[in-house]
Amino acid sequence: MAQITRRQFIQIGGASAGALAVGSGLATKWWGLDRDPIPDPETDGDKVVPTFCELCFWKCGVLAHVKNGRVTKLKGNPAHPLSRGRLCPRGTGGVAQLYDPDRLKQPLVRVNKRGEEVFEEVSWDKALDEVAGKLLAVREKYGPEALALFTHGYGGSWFSHLVKAYGTPNIGAPSYAQCRGPREVGYGMTFGQGLGSPESIDIENARCLVLIGSHLGENMHNTQVQEMATAIGHGCELVVVDPRFSTAAGKARYWLPIKPGTDIALLLAWTNVLISEGRYDAEYVTKYATGFDELKKHVADKTPEWAHPITGLKPELIRESGRFLASFRPATLIHPGRHVTWYGDDTQRARAMAILTALLGAWGRRGGYLLPSPLEIPKFPYTAYSYKPKAPVDRPASLYPLADETLASGLCDATIPGKSAYPIKSWFVYGTNLLQVLPDPRQTRQAIQELDFIVSVDIYPSEICGWSDVVLPECTYLERCDEVWSPAYKQPFVAVRQAAVEPMYESKPGWWIARELAQRLGLKDYFPWKDSVEYAEHRIKAAGLDCATLKSTGVILGKRVPTCEEEGAQLSFSTESQKIELFSKTLAAAGHDPLPKYTPVEEPPPGMFRLLFGRSPVHTFGRTVNNRFLSQIVDENELWLNTDIAADQALKSGDQVVLVNQDGVKSNPIKVKVTQRIRGDCVYMIHGYGHTAKGLRFARGRGASDSELCTRYKVDPIMGGTGMNVNFVRLERPESA
């Protein structure tokens, strides 16, 4: 808040407004001698720094307004292809993250037992010496591969580089096996490439958008939500498959309130309708795909009538919606989803979606899936890593050969003795609260107890920090320059993250922490730059781009190359057959179903409900739950409960319940939201609540934790993803105090 009084600054504002208002026809109304002023809150910065957001992983272009050394507000950067001048609600909340009084302020060294959250504040020198000493001891005793890095967020690149130089291959991001991994493999098996981030899908030109459990609009991937609105403005129709009447379902021509876990049956029935009624793109399939005959045979009996008892959807609804979505091909976009680790058959569900996409002829076509390309920025010319690391330890040799990234959950498993080829004895955790991210936090805590050493780099004193031996306070994204970013996207670009203000407290940027550790680990030569700005400038210059331009605009666009057939792109597929593989020989060879099959999911026992979780537009996982600005909109999660079920249980909105899962694990009390908007066999809550960390003074004790209730998960046999929608809960009244 401004230090001058409101009245003072109204006077100032009034004076300047008068000067600017010349010729605007400003109505003047006089009350005695006072003219009514136009109030000006004067939040515009005296400088504006372009950077990109870190409130979520989408990384929108942001303009940070800085006034008298403080960030006053954040706006969307109009030049940036992801924000297009707009921000999602979380993006505006970056200021409250920067000025959060609960931020980590000083390096911490653990005093009591792990998990007791008792620390001593120490100097950076002491903390860094401690970390380096322990990491050297682990390497000495067990070898470099005994270190695992868990990382999430764009600051993680410095630490990936550091631990590769140290000699470990064990670098895992939960964004793979706990999130989008099955999708990458499922689409990869079909089209020869996954989707990455941001996905190059053409929502804005789609004429029909099909969401399979994706709750876009609550899930605020800024660009995708913008494009969905644009498409709706053009008359795009929505088909939404969700046990819950999501925001998107409220805009849909067809809402299919499917029984949870049965999506593959619906997708096969739609495939049956398309093929049996000749509604697929035969020319496209003949030209580009292989395995159509096998597919046709496979779905011949997968009629809407067959899917009806499985999905709970009427055959007419399945048939009619299938015909409807086919009528817009090729501009029918089956959205690939993002967080797709649900039931352990997730790669096969992604396959079924990819196959349907192929039948619609929507891959490489306008309004479907576009072909992305990056703006090529040469890598920094680092010295080659001297260690020849062993194979990662995240999965047993015979399992999940088709996974194309390291499994974070696998690294956690491997830490428990007797489960892996070699021991993991040390964890380096960057920006990911593993106790909320990995399924079954009991197992995560058990693994941590097996470690010789664990260090966390974070901005918040999250639960994982409380279980760490050393905690290093990173500054927020508004206080640092990170690695440059040039993803493969339909519009190639390169963006920079620049510091809007100096780091607060004793917090330090990630690049500094990594470089300081490198010096202490004898890896100094791997960080041959003064700071991240020098590093970034080197890469930008090497690409032949102008640093000054990039600094002033935050983003440089690359030349757009044809992204679809309509623009002249030639389709090619880097699968084994060089075609779209409807029937996957690769999967068959690995011992999996070459065509997706529906396998029945376990039903909730009587009196229990399937626990589903999702997103709020104003929060990102548990990372923003302590953000007091965003929490003015949502400050706890609620349990969505079907109206009829609530009546049976004599519950009304606002009543508190405790959830007890199949393993007897109890949640914190959570408020019930009684609603018609959900089926009766499941309950739903926003993920990320129920924090227990003492340092999160605002978040602590608010709402219930879905993570603690996810004590069971079903592993995807194809790529090792952890399906987490397999937990059941019953509702109990909280014990009165």
């Binding site: 808040m1 401004a2 409101r6 009245r7 109204i10 407004a17 600017l20 208002a21 605007s24 026809g25 400003l26 109505a27 009350w31 006072d34 009514d36 002023p37 136009i38 109030p39 000006d40 809150p41 939040t43 006053t72 954040l74 706006k75 969307g76 707009r86 921000l87 999602c88 609600p89 505006t92 909340g93 609009g217 605020m220 800024n222 939500v225 913008q226 609105a229 644009t230 709706i232 403005g233 009447f245 925001t247 379902a249 409220g250 805009k251 809402w255 309130p257 537009p617 104003v618 600005f629 965003l630 003015q632 909109i633 079907n642 109206t643 009829d644 609603t675 018609q676 908007r677 089926r679």
Partner: protein, 179 residues
Amino acid sequence: MKSRYAMTMDTQRCVGCQSCVLGCKAENDLPEHGFRDWVVVETRGEFPTLTQEIRSQRCNHCSEPACVTACPTGASHVAVGGTVLVNYDKCSGCKACIAACPYSARYVHAKGYIDKCTFCLHRVQRGEAPSCVDICPTRSLTFGDLSDPDSEVSQQLRGRKHKVLEPERGLEPNLYFLQ
């Protein structure tokens, strides 16, 4: 012709994300739990036959503003473009305007005066759109001058089915919801 500022809100595009609400708070440096705009989600029907409307709401800047009539000190007044403003210096915080406003558009600011949406006139007079319009990811909000038949808002109201809230009160609200 005298300008008549208005806003349209496209209920089909809006996802209720609350960027408008938080963007407004940041732009206007509003106190904790002070809001000049808010989101309403209205669901009708019974599972599974449901319909939903999402609205981003704020002061309607009525052409016949009950709040201005009710204000005993002259703090609430009509400014450029028919925008209803509060002169904080003149406001005694008596809340007569809050009682008079059927849209609950006003709240008591932490500093004692009554606060409400200003259509971000401080931005408008610089040629910028109000903050909520500027930040909205779905471009659901449009601000403009109804006295100009070529303005985007005028065109939208000619071309789209729309409604205002509680028209029967005769306050002539200027926040239009496109259906």
